[in-house]
Amino acid sequence: MFRKDDWKVGSIATVFGCLLLYFSLTTELSKNVLAMSDIAGPFGVPNIVAVIIIAIGLLHILAAFLLRNDTSTSEKKKKENAGDSSQERVVVLVIIISAVYILLLSFLGYLISTCLLIAVLMYLFYERNWKKTIVFSVLFTGALFLIFNNLLNVNLPSLSVLN
């Protein structure tokens, strides 16, 4: 059921649960709110959630501590992690590209920034056929724009210069 490396999940959960409990216990409620509310109050359920998270977190830390001499799971993990760091770089790049897209969206507008997003992502995913990349990014962006903007009446961001 438990693994040797479950101390990571346990630690994150415990810290998160403690923070949750801290914020919910330190929020001051006015007398009016207390009068109109039930016995649980606005922070009743978050408090219960925080206690459950802390309890499960501590359980995982304890289990990982008891399994500290177990070698079977660590060997398996080592095999799983082989070559993981280079693959992990792709994930980080996708997140960075997404962040840049979000920043550019309000300046360049939907059409240009989405075209760029598709082209850059395809390049990142090892698509080296430029003709295919350009044609697909333009056509797919155009199709999405038509569906959302014209058919579904969603006001997609336009080029800020035009505004």
């Binding site: 959960a13 409620l29 509310s37 499960i56 996708v94 598709i118 579904l152």
Partner: protein
Amino acid sequence: MLEHLALGINFAFDWHAIMMIFFGVMWGIVGGFIPGINATVAMSLILPFTWGMQPHVAIMMLLGIYAGAEYAGSIPACLIGTPGTNAAACTVLDGYELTKKGRPGLALGTSLYASVMGGLIGNAALIMLAIPLASVALSFGPSEYCALAIMGLTMICSLGGKNVFKGVLAGVFGIFLSTVGLDPITSVPRFSFGILELNQGFNLIPVMMGLFAVTEVLKQAKECLGGEKFIVASGNISKKLPGWQDFKKILPVSFFSGIIGTFIGVMPGAGASTSSFLAYNEAKRWLKNTHTFGQGDIRGIAAPEAANNAVTGGALVPLLSLGIPGSNSTAIMLGALMIHNVVPGPMIFDKNPEIAYGAFVALFIANIFLLLQGFVLIRVAYKITSISKPLLLAAIITLVFTGAYAVNGQISDIILTVGFGIIGYGMKKFGLPPTATVLGFVLGSIMEHNLRRALIISEGSYWGGIFNSPLSSILIIISILSLVITVYRNWRENRAANSAAA
């Protein structure tokens, strides 16, 4: 009644009405297929066009959209692991697994058959039980709703795989997410840290698309080696639809889930998402050999799909018999009727039988059209799985971002989607199931809101609030038993696995 039903048949089989139902189903399928657009959005976009129509035709078309959208959410859920609608979130569990095994035809076919069966069961219930069902639903108070949500939440235990506590951890994290924003009773801001956008709480669409779609894209991006086919090589894709044996296998579960969906649909506020999770959970609890659930079991696709389509019939019960819209979609139907000065309620059966009984027949026709259009769509849709990986991953991420933006027209929803994608990726790395978080998020707010209403009614007594009636007591006892059985089963399976390994 038979006389009125004959009148309904007469109105529904008018060529104009038939055409509108056909168009409605088609429009619903398009809306449901696109992540971020659900039945409510698809219906609201068509609402202005109903002005020039006769009221019964308008309702028939809206019903077609409702049925089409509830089904079509399962197509991207099965093919790319991204649910098109909230109600299809549960279909990802087995539908996407089946596609990864190279059998998208079976996944899509099962979803179609189950959806149609669920829709027809909901339709039959609507015809036979509209008025008695409405009175049962009205007897549901906060305690019963709370108990029902707790029963649904017990499913999180079985989602953690070998470690039941990881399922619970992910689920309670979902409940926490549902508490962010203004408290529904006192309007006190909770965990919003002064950020205005957070006061409204998290919208389900960015949460779901982040945890499912972005997480999956990040996971797939790691394995991307260029030119590779998505999920499975095209040669290994089975286009075969479910055969008679498969159909026999899903028939009982579809029937059972259809009844659950109908009943959930009748209850105001519960909705299609709740019904699909609840049906999946109950199917897993009551059927035999359910260890294959979550690994591409067709019964795991049939249960949520039959339930969420059965909701369409159930949701019409309070609308037509009491004039109460139980969901956003039926609220739009109410709007369409009010545009034409038609007030739904018990009198509608006598005053406007063409609307009430016409709706009964139209829902039946819509389900038949759904089956026909679904067959055509499946033959085209499965081709998505043979598109090259770089192309498809880029397309999914763009579609997800556009869909997230479409919810409120705010860039902050895209930020949330990316944020939840990162959280989901991290959760998967640590063995925490993102599905449990979505389940906790969907049912958490229903549970909290009704628990607190029950506490107010019972003047602060937890015992009196939760065990308020025989019905809520039975539901809570079933939940506790289910929790104990799941933990025991998990412990026994792990012990057996450990002794086999030794």
